[in-house]
Symmetry: D2
């Protein structure tokens, strides 16, 4: 083990996000994976993920808090919401750095959590310690974080698409509509009839219309950014692809915007960002250009006739929308190069 | 040939819409296909469409106006826009009934046609004769039509989704946003890099954002229905499926609506319609339930917090969005049972 | 109800085959569906199969033998193997005509059933009454059948591909290899990790290599046809499509064949068959030409250098491979036109 | 530029293999890309391949032999066959190392090339210099190669699947049948109706049955390995996936083999290979485990009843079947770690 290498553990290795985090960290030059666990599965990781055979000989075990604490400096939690808040307090008490991919520490208010996730938060005292892990907005805070709330996939796509106009032209915004489409892996590796091949293939539908639990997360961070209460109409759809989210965002404005001005605002906002690409005018993001990468691609179009701005924002839901962003956050927290292991 | 059978010709048999119109008419008990032509291909139709082998022994020839006039009572034009307006005047002079699947006779104003299709209309004198073939709105007019303008695929989905509220609650509507997603066959059977398998598969993107030529068609018939000038923000996307359109429509309203009221309005409006299904509350349309059928499925959701109604409208772009609707129109024009050959 | 209409019941309406049989029979002019049941679901069929809303108002109930007997003349069993042999004896005692889509009555020898399906046959006394429902081979027997064993999907594709050469050039055949590929609906509407969208999409694999339970069915009917013991090497694969089977069949021969001779043999054998299409030389069957139809398309190629004939045989696994063939068999059993409801 | 870095050029950057080779080399720590060209396109590579924006600022130009010679030590040719043999002689005269991804230098005999590629070879004098770039068989020769003939995608999959038994049990082999299935990218980035999304999606077919130009390549290297004239029946199919080849290989043997023995032979043969994984008994390779990697996964099954061995061999056609293997070969030729840039 090289000097300065960080010892990392991953809890929840058998899901899509946990599995991909493992794969990314396997190639990370400053990380040594020292611990991996899953809820239902134990044994060789190459048996759980056969595409990793001959790449790792590590084992996966049933989660034990004490062992994780002993073996790791940084711990990724790729577990369902509600499970994370059982584990986090113990890890924080042991002075570990925690990167939580679940939804448990993203919302600052327990009441909002209860409303959308239908159960009471069990660790509300640590909510104030959590830093929301969107590096493009909170890089400084992430640097000092011990509890990192890794953003949801839809919120990452929506907030990155909206941040520049929200931050600079707040008072111009009249209404926000987010029409989001996600590949099937967004639902996780769980069995449900609607996720069976013959049901999802050659199909398309909206789901949880106006009721998706990512709504308050989007609204909270847009509000924080603008300094006032922001609302967004949010509808999600199931796309027949494995990976990728495209959000088409309609911003109705009180005054007419020009393509030139908007492009300039977005260009400046993301100029030095390694993982956001604002596309040239008349160019639209496509899932195939972001899937497998940690990039967020953003397209902009202004109506000639109506006071409407159309923003399209594309990410890989498992990369920038989950495991990739988690590694980006770890890089910032540990003082590594931000793009390490991600390009 | 049974008595009372109508002699039908199809111009443009080698495209997706023309081919499907041919297949539907092949099974229609009151129709005899007496003529079929295509632009680039001639010969046995079962060679052009191998799935029709042992089902037809008809031939396809190069289009000749005079022959079509002699052999047919009703003529389907499944040709590109601009081609239709070359043929239609001749067919009308010969007293034929014409069902035009192209865009040439859908817009009533030549100036609007010129703006969106980038060329001057060549048969503007016949525009006033054209009846817009959306049976749910114009059944009486269709009955008497000699020139039928078969609606575009996107407009069919959007207008059917919006008609009930537009007709009954016009003054409540503040803005309309239509986020539409179409399968690849919507682009026709043409070669373009973006339509290649490896480009469209596992991909998704918006295209012609705010510039799609179906925009004025949607706005014209919503305006006609409401009696005032209606605008709609319209964005189209390319879905990785062969067939199907789902439009997610956001109507911002001046006052709060209730699910109960909206469901009642839609239920009444389409109560006797054979091909529109208003789904129960909390149920969303899915492409798989309409693909291969002539149905339009409509879902409704009202926001609890915002003054927004979300309408989802699904059709098969080649059926209700093209060939199926054309046959439905023919049934009305010829006095047949409206569902004949379509259920 | 028109005179001469047959009263039909379908047991197992919620699976893919049962659901499709229901849909086909709904359109059949000489059939009235008088009974429908499923194992786990009851209620409006349009709730179970939303694509049938506004097309049927029938209900599905829990299966009761006595009710099925009272209400039906012909009963389709679209149930898992082992369930069929519980029901069949009762229906036969009541003089009903039974069309069994399961595997329970396809193999004539209980010992073979036990070897491949891993359990003892419970109704072996009725095995001799069962007629194997491949109309191209057993039309005369099917006409008189009361218990019809509807063939498996893979065997239909394989036997139709092999029948002409097996029947006419038996002694020339040295070995048979069947490399079969099936769409995901072949596995039925069951939940299994390998059938989830993200697992099957963009994937392909062989499964149950050399151990598939359809092997003895193929071997039995090839043996019956040739009058001698025939063996076939049989490997199945999971294709990322909803529907369709393509079998690529390699026949090594003791002497060299010519394309001309083989094409003639196949052409003659299937000349009057309504649902088999022998393709012209140099033409290959494609799933898209048979999916949604009851056709079996067959392609032929003879090696110039080796003593090998390559037969490719394509069907829709749910149509000619299940529900479509079941309706074809019913047509024959009831004296209807063989293609009724299927073209 | 670090010391010891190799200057690499890629000719044919706009195709799938050339584009992927570029992407792999971009991340290679011992390589500097100093030249890139394409036939029809020039300009920023990030415009040609938008997924590479913010990852490269390199330009692509029209190919000029002299410039390539001046700027590069190693040159990848990702051009169509026939183009390579125009360029190779000039590069060899200038003492460059050439890695040719086309078919031009794979077959040792000009007459065989002419028979299968339908034109005369123009550089037959250099054929004897070419080393066939399958590292698992020819690592020692590759180390010294100046002209590397990178294997075809189908032959890589077939030969790796067959090499152990061909090398060790030659006399036992009676016949070989290779049923191969490839994703659509195997056809390259060219426009053809059969490669359009709506034609290839939900479809499957065999093509060039018994006539595929990779047949003699497979036979030549199997023959070389066994020391005697080997023949293989070879049929290719078009799979509805972007990437991946699975070959199901049937070896009829003169005597019965056991799974134990075969597994041992394969395990030993590939024991130290970094990119070949022989799967445990009863386990089958799946495309999803190799796509995006340079691995070849191999499954083995022996018939209990017949003298047949079934080998399944899976690769990513663009990685181990093209660009990945090309980089692996470059690593060997340049003395780098063989897996550099590939894990």
């Amino acid at each position: 083990m090289k000097k300065n290498m960080v010892r990392v553990g991953i809890v929840g290795i058998s899901g899509y996000s946990g599995g991909l985090a493992f794969e990314l960290l396997l190639n990370h030059p400053q990380v040594r994976i020292t611990y991996a666990s899953a809820h239902n599965t134990t044994g060789e990781i190459a048996k759980i993920w056969p595409h990793l055979a001959k790449r790792t000989s590590l084992y996966c075990e049933k989660f034990q808090t004490q062992k994780a604490i002993e073996l790791c400096d940084v711990i990724f939690l790729a577990v369902p919401h509600t499970s994370a808040m059982e584990i986090v307090p113990k890890l924080l008490r042991a002075d570990k750095q925690v990167i939580d991919l679940s939804a448990d520490y993203r919302l600052s208010k327990p009441a909002v959590y209860k409303k959308w996730y239908k159960l009471a938060h069990k660790d509300s005292s640590n909510l104030s310690k959590a830093v929301y892990g969107l590096p493009e907005l909170y890089r400084a805070e992430i640097k000092k974080a011990t509890l990192l709330a890794n953003p949801g996939c839809y919120p990452t796509s929506a907030i990155l698409g909206l941040a520049p106009i929200t931050a600079t032209l707040t008072d111009t915004i009249e209404s926000i509509t987010i029409d989001a489409k996600s590949g099937v892996s967004g639902a996780g590796k769980k069995m449900a009839e609607s996720l069976m091949y013959c049901e999802a293939n050659e199909n398309f539908k909206a789901y949880r219309v106006l009721k998706h639990q990512h709504t308050p997360e989007i609204e909270e961070y847009l509000s924080k950014l603008s300094g006032k209460n922001m609302k967004a109409t949010f509808v999600t759809h199931l796309l027949p692809v494995n990976r990728g989210i495209l959000s088409t965002i309609y911003v109705r404005t009180k005054e007419k915007l020009t393509t030139g001005k908007i492009t300039q605002i977005y260009g400046r906002f993301y100029k030095t960002e390694p993982f956001v690409r604002v596309l040239p005018a008349e160019t639209q993001p496509e899932l195939k250009n972001v899937v497998g990468t940690n990039f967020c691609d953003i397209g902009l179009a202004v109506s000639e006739e109506k006071d409407v701005l159309v923003i399209t924002s594309a990410i890989d839901n498992l990369m920038k929308g989950a495991a990739g962003q988690a590694v980006q956050n770890m890089n910032i927290m540990c003082g590594f190069k931000e793009t390490e292991g991600l390009l």
